[in-house]
Symmetry: C3
Subunit: 468 residues, 3 copies
């Protein structure tokens, strides 16, 4: 008995399945390139055991707890910490049981696939998770977590991770990355420059963040020039800790190309805190263009993740803070929004800007035509809600015909759920092979070319796009 | 010879077809739950014969006559009444022949599938409808309609309807529902509270409707408090006639959360008729939040049907009035629009708000993320133009991965075409089983789970969501 | 060895493939109706040889060169002329080699399919194009182009073109069409009235264009009445050169229905050059309604191609001008935008307006409901980025259920790449047959009806819609 079907996600039709299987077999065991995600570098710096099954699989994973919340479980009952420090469920076994009782809610979702894959392939479980098996699961996983083979570095190696990128804020001291580097461990864990806290005027504590930014860099961040110089220095610091990319999470894809005096004046406005929402948005937009210019100089690949309306529920945000499963995508314009930045840097053949969208309607209409023309642009893989078999299928079906495979940037797992990394890359490899098999079976791609493309999508394109 | 293929809508690939067939066989004969629709309760109150084939299949069905109009037939030629009482075709046989001559226009549409299903499974016809068979069809159906087995109550029972919800305006006296209840007949026909005529300031006769509303309830509808009290009483009256739900058909999904003094002031504006389009829209938005609050008190499930631009053709509206096939969907924002209401009631685990969209692009981007987080929300099935095999397929493919099956609300036929009810539910059951079979065949769902889900989608989820 | 799979684009599943093959075999060799495109009539007037392989396949085809540009090749390196007359690659063999070296970029794109089809079926090549075969390809094609059988008229006949429509601006003298007609050659090449240069106030040289327009027609184009009269005369002139249609390429689908005095006043504004972007847009919108009225009089079919944001890159536009692969689609509203025009002409059963969109999200939500109601409307085939197997599939899947097949207008190749015409029509025929086979295999369409529909989609609907 197994939890996962060895032929999962390959086409059901036998001839296509045979092709897909052949393609998949050649890429299934390639090393994992994980160029963007949210794992905690401390795991690999300290290499101590993960605390318990609930802390590993439930409490930090908004994919998991929001689904239970949608069906009437309260966040408190799942041990999610309250911002006021109020009491929440503290017993991990109770949390685990609640999770197990509701496990049927995940039927048909990628979460079920990732979890089952982790249960089976990481922990060796083969019975289904149900209310009845909840305790046995808990005990089994908890015991395993105490074994040397389940410490973070051991798992990293077992997962065949060639490189793992984490994401840190501009003010981070990167001490865990330093500790990893100093430790002599062979695993490659690199950071990524994510400056939202000093770029977004609406970020909590923006004014103080700018002061800290100045203090950290020795630049005078009360001036526009000093502020830009601080970014440049910080980017060097991140590069020194392995960064090959920056990352920018914005509510929209807006970019601006203000003159430097205009930009300086806008900076003074947003720095003072006395700016409108429109001015804050314009500032974020200007900073994307500035970051692109800096990338031209220092070679960092630039990632734009746009379109999430964060903290949709006022009640959940007040009670539990950010990243609690209530970030909802919205319609996102890209074609107009990116023009100011692209008029500055879009034709630069040495620059790499990777675009991630939560609005799938733009794939065929906007993103593929843009990436199929501008040399500086690449399309990131399906993100967040769309990092799934159907999401990947729609991505390929709506982009390939316009921009081909070679304007895409391979796969990102973008996860904070460490154990799901092999599962997510496996879903991506299988889904891409299924898509390629369909092209082969309908005379749209030669099998030998499909083998090469499968390898590129799995391995080479991510390495190239992120210069890893 | 038959009109319908016994394997219709099941996957063509043999292995998947076998799975789908197995799933379908277990749900094909379950009772029909019809929790939302537009059948006339008078049919079941009076239980007299349907007049003739044209009156049953053509004249009242905007799906049917708009298609003929699109190819050059005039509404008058199909017997659709003019608002000025001007002459229209009065001979039902002539109307029927016109319909039959144009029947090829429906190739590939769900209308053809529903009609053929009714012809074969309700009336026992097995030859195709063409110009040549038009008269034979007419005579056959007309004769059947005179038989006892084809009276409305007999058909209701033969269709295996466990419950049928109709939809009545807030000013309706519900006399037909009373007559049904008093008759001792065992069929369950319930009403639904649809207050558009007293909620939408742009509805024809809004001011007089408010007066009638006051007279009916004994409340002073010249005040905001009296107006709300009138709604509360009317909802009780509808509940006494079986209602378990309200229904709200709005051009947009906009909601508002005004303070009560602001809402009262806005009410006086719209009541006076001296309000802008923007104010009318804001008022409708405020009333969704008020209705949600009332649902928290009285337990009615709340349905929001948003996004139809009604009466698109000025000429058709002037000549023939509402509901003449010229209602065209428009782009609909949900994520911003629902926030005010959701900040009030969204986290209520005892409330059930069901969302229906005519903008399919929001399924994956907005509705599934919302329903996969807020406990008060459920997704209604594909509606109107999308109540079809491809529409259902897209619905499942774009929602399941994010919100699963259990944040959806089963199937609605939403029809005024009584004879199409079994056909529509059958299309839904087959389409869902086809989708589930695809998940099973690609290792994404276990067969035993798929059986349980198929039963839930067919029967349990609708009963639960509507508390039927 | 062949470049193209004889079963390409037919469904992979054997039973469906057999049905599709049967459908396709009956339509594969039907004459080509090409009712809209951008071939140069001079080719058929002069009937001289095409210059060389690069000039035939690379330099004029923005599908081809933008893909190479997106991966770092410069337009200059591909021989695309600079607007300043600056030096660009002049050796066609060098251009061809660059193209060949990058040919893998087209994997999975329709360009690859069109090109391989042309290489094999027009030029008899059977080895793959690679860097290694580049010179052999060049020599082979270049030699063929010198043969009598590869002159434009010979290819026209070999391609089995029953009629080819070209597109000329309102100020064109149509001398090549006259020369074709006078030559006694039996090939039917008709023009199309495309008045953008005298309708769009933002077109380069608009004011001078209006003067030329007056001079050409003898009408006083300084007045609104004279301007409209000039259009009427010009349309007659185009009709005399075979035109059965007009074509309108607008950034949005906006229409207006101003009173004639308002329109006259707006005309004076735009004529003076002293108008806002909003007024320019309103004028274009008014002109769509005026053109529709003229179509009611003179019977020209009207095409609206809306939604391209032209010349997205300022740098490319400055360096190379229009049509250089940097036209990016944008979100397009149709349902609100068309209402003013449809309130004037929408119910006219003798008028034919064909709609083309670059925003696929509107197919199911807006265009199919509109075309499934208004007698004057038809849906054009997928356009530009979406004239592809997946694009055609999405088009059929999102429109058929609402407006059927008979509110669509057959296929357009819309190309300036002459040799791709048979390939494009073949992709369309195969894709439609694949779609129909799916309907047949799932019991949604009878095989005999599918044969009739396949013929209609291939041949009859285009002839009817364009009155050819």
């Amino acid at each position: 008995m197994t939890l996962t079907d060895p032929d999962r996600l390959l086409p059901a039709e036998p001839a296509q399945r045979a092709i897909a299987r052949q393609l998949y077999d050649r890429v299934a065991d390639l090393p994992i390139i994980s160029p963007h995600g949210h794992c905690d570098p401390r795991w690999f710096a300290e290499n101590t055991r993960f605390p318990d099954p609930a802390a590993l699989f439930v409490v930090p994973d908004h994919y998991v707890f929001r689904m239970l919340v949608s069906q009437g479980v309260r966040l408190e009952e799942l041990g999610v910490p309250r911002t006021d420090g109020g009491a929440v469920e503290a017993d991990p076994r109770v949390i685990w049981r609640r999770f197990a009782e509701h496990y049927h809610l995940f039927r048909g979702t990628p979460s079920a696939m990732w979890l089952d894959h982790s249960f089976e392939h990481v922990f060796g479980l083969t019975e289904r998770l149900t209310a009845d098996t909840a305790d046995a699961y808990y005990d089994h996983i908890d015991a395993k977590l105490g074994e040397a083979g389940f410490l973070p570095r051991a798992l990293f190696e077992r997962f065949n991770l060639e490189v793992l990128a984490t994401t840190e804020g501009a003010l981070d001291d990167l001490k865990w990355h330093k500790q990893i580097a100093d430790s002599g461990w062979s695993g490659r864990v690199v950071t990524t420059y994510r400056p939202d806290a000093v770029v977004d005027p609406e970020f909590e504590g923006f004014a103080e963040n700018l002061e800290t930014f100045g203090a950290l860099t020795g630049e005078d961040t009360t001036t526009w020039e000093g502020y830009l110089a601080a970014h440049r220095l910080r980017r060097q610091f991140f590069k020194a800790h392995g960064a090959t990319a920056s990352d920018h999470g914005h509510p929209t894809a807006r970019t601006e190309n203000l003159s430097q005096p205009e930009a300086a004046a806008l900076y003074q406005k947003v720095r003072s805190g006395d700016c409108t929402a429109e001015e804050a948005d314009a500032f974020r937009g200007q900073m994307l263009t500035e970051m692109a210019r800096m990338s031209q100089d220092d070679g960092l690949t630039m990632q734009i993740h746009a379109g999430s309306r964060r903290n949709h529920s006022a009640q959940v945000f007040a009670g539990f803070g950010r990243d609690k499963g209530f970030d909802i995508p919205g319609r996102t314009d890209w074609v107009g929004a990116l023009k100011p930045m692209l008029d500055v840097v879009g034709m630069d053949r040495d620059l790499c800007i990777i675009l991630f969208t939560l609005d799938e309607t733009v794939y065929g209409r906007e993103l593929a035509p843009l990436a199929g023309a501008y040399p500086a642009l690449k399309l990131g893989p399906p993100w967040w809600f769309f990092d799934s078999p159907e999401g990947i299928k729609r991505f390929r079906e709506t982009t390939t015909e316009t921009c081909g495979f070679y304007n895409t940037a391979g796969f990102n797992d973008d996860t904070r759920a460490f154990c799901s990394i092999p599962a997510r890359h496996d879903v991506s490899r299988r889904s891409d092979c299924a898509y390629l098999a369909g092209l082969v079976a309908t005379g749209r791609l030669r099998l030998e070319d499909a083998h090469e493309v499968a390898h590129d999508l799995t391995y080479r394109l991510a390495k190239d796009a992120y210069r890893l």
